[in-house]
């Protein structure tokens, strides 16, 4: 057995701010994870199809445009409806404090905002998998 944790990093919607997503993708690679990066302008449907084909453990969403309350829950719902509710959804970007509770309730298990250290992201992933990448 030689299981590797696989993670999709995706940007739903029309938001073109991709620095954060690329930064997170690289940091997770350096932490030993296999990261599938799909680029900007993805629909929730294409993100979910990708997650299923790639058989990932996590979907990490990045959004700075403000559309997170609509698009993040949509990804969770689609995963659930396709029997893939076991995939953990988390996210990050410019997301106001007051939206955090709502997103959590809708199944986005963690949100990392500007300035969040990568070590926190890694701790979160480890807490969900019960192991480290390597």
């Amino acid at each position: 057995m030689n299981k590797k944790i696989r993670i999709v990093i995706a940007k739903p919607g029309l938001d073109g701010h991709d620095r954060g997503a690329k930064y997170i993708a690289r940091a997770l690679k350096d932490a030993g994870y296999e990261v599938i990066y799909t680029g900007i302008r993805q629909t929730p449907e294409s993100i979910v199809a990708t997650a299923i084909q790639e058989d990932v453990d996590f979907v990490g969403l990045s959004l700075l445009s403000g559309a997170h309350n609509e698009l993040f829950p949509r990804v969770v719902d689609l995963l659930n409806s396709q029997n893939a509710g076991d995939i953990v959804v988390f996210g990050g970007g410019v997301i106001p404090e007051e939206d955090l509770a709502f997103l959590k309730e809708r199944g986005i298990e963690a949100i990392f905002r500007p300035g969040a250290p990568i070590s926190e992201v890694i701790s979160f992933i480890e807490s969900k998998t019960g192991s480290t990448a390597a």
Partner: protein
């Protein structure tokens, strides 16, 4: 095995899981591959290789479209390198193919090389069987961006496409011996930038100097701009024309049998390695042996021959 049944029915989640079973080297891997084997052998397998950034993924994206226009089901295995330091990877090939993400006739799977050399990953051959058994008509393997000698895709594909781009004329000279020899189809991509015609002539010249080939074997050269989608349809038609020729001339069967030979050899070697590892307890002993050889206390051949003799005596080999 329930998973086998679901894969042969083309269930997306099952296909994805099956590939993971193989990739993670799970206990059920052998059972899965053997269970799928009777359902394989129908798909056409195309390997696309070439240096980093040559445009391989962009071309695959175009090929997918032509296949879909013809109502064919197509699967892509896109390999990217794992970091030798962290073991992690960024798998970015599918970024260029995402317009097809939700098309049920298209299945794209990214794979990290996980330390495997040769431009593919150890699980690539198994993943091909999963897609083949699941009923995909065509399977494309995109290798990692390769140099001269990473030619192992030839052990997997019916047809090899080598992607080259202008500005690497000198490299062609260097490549002569390795990767240039495995190509059935030379694809000069980025024909929208200067130097593509010159590159094409250089390849033609190089092929003229090469050994005489039979007709089915004569490599084709195509000028393409994947970005502008020019020359791509001709490329697509040429690919399948070549495959038909290979089939008619018997070359395809010959290649597939050669591949089975390699596969059987690989399995034997892997199993023998496992046996050696446990019987000789290599994990613990290797350090000691290294010291002894380093200090010139023992000589490598003599030492190994003695160990082998012992194994034979004890009937462990």
């Amino acid at each position: 095995m329930e998973l086998i049944k679901r894969i042969t029915r083309g269930n997306t989640r099952a296909i994805a899981r099956g590939i993971s079973v193989i990739e993670n080297n799970s206990d059920t891997k052998e059972e899965l591959i053997d269970g799928l084997y009777p359902f394989t052998g129908k798909a056409q397998i195309i390997g696309i290789t070439g240096s980093p950034g040559a445009g391989k993924s962009t071309i695959v994206d175009r090929i997918i479209q032509f296949e879909r226009n013809n109502n064919k089901k197509i699967a892509v295995i896109a390999v990217d390198p794992s970091s030798p330091f962290s073991g992690g990877a960024i798998l970015g090939d599918r970024l260029r193919m995402q317009t097809h993400a939700t098309d049920p006739g298209v299945f794209i799977r990214s794979m990290a090389s996980r330390g495997y050399l040769g431009g593919i990953s150890a699980a690539t051959s198994g993943a091909i069987k999963v897609f083949d058994a699941a009923g995909f008509d065509t399977i494309i393997i995109e290798t990692i961006g390769v140099g001269q000698t990473e030619v192992e895709v030839i052990e997997l594909a019916d047809l090899i496409i080598l992607t080259l781009v202008p500005g690497m004329g000198d490299e062609i000279q260097a490549m002569k011996a390795g990767i240039m020899e495995i190509a059935d189809l030379f694809l000069v991509n980025k024909s929208d930038i200067d130097g593509a015609d010159r590159l094409k002539s250089e390849i033609e010249y190089m092929l003229m100097l090469g050994p005489e080939n039979d007709k089915a074997h004569t490599p084709q050269i195509k000028l393409v701009s994947a970005k502008n989608n020019s020359g791509t349809e001709e490329l697509y038609n040429t690919m399948f024309k070549q495959l038909t020729l290979f089939k008619e001339s018997g070359l395809l069967d010959k290649r597939r049998k050669e591949r089975i030979k390699m596969e059987i050899e690989h399995i034997f070697i892997d199993k023998l390695k496992d046996i050696l590892n446990t019987r000789l307890n290599l994990k613990e002993n290797m350090g000691i042996w290294i010291e002894k050889v380093y200090n010139r206390e023992i000589r490598p051949y003599n030492f190994v021959n003695k160990k082998m003799e012992n194994l034979k005596k004890e009937n462990l080999l």
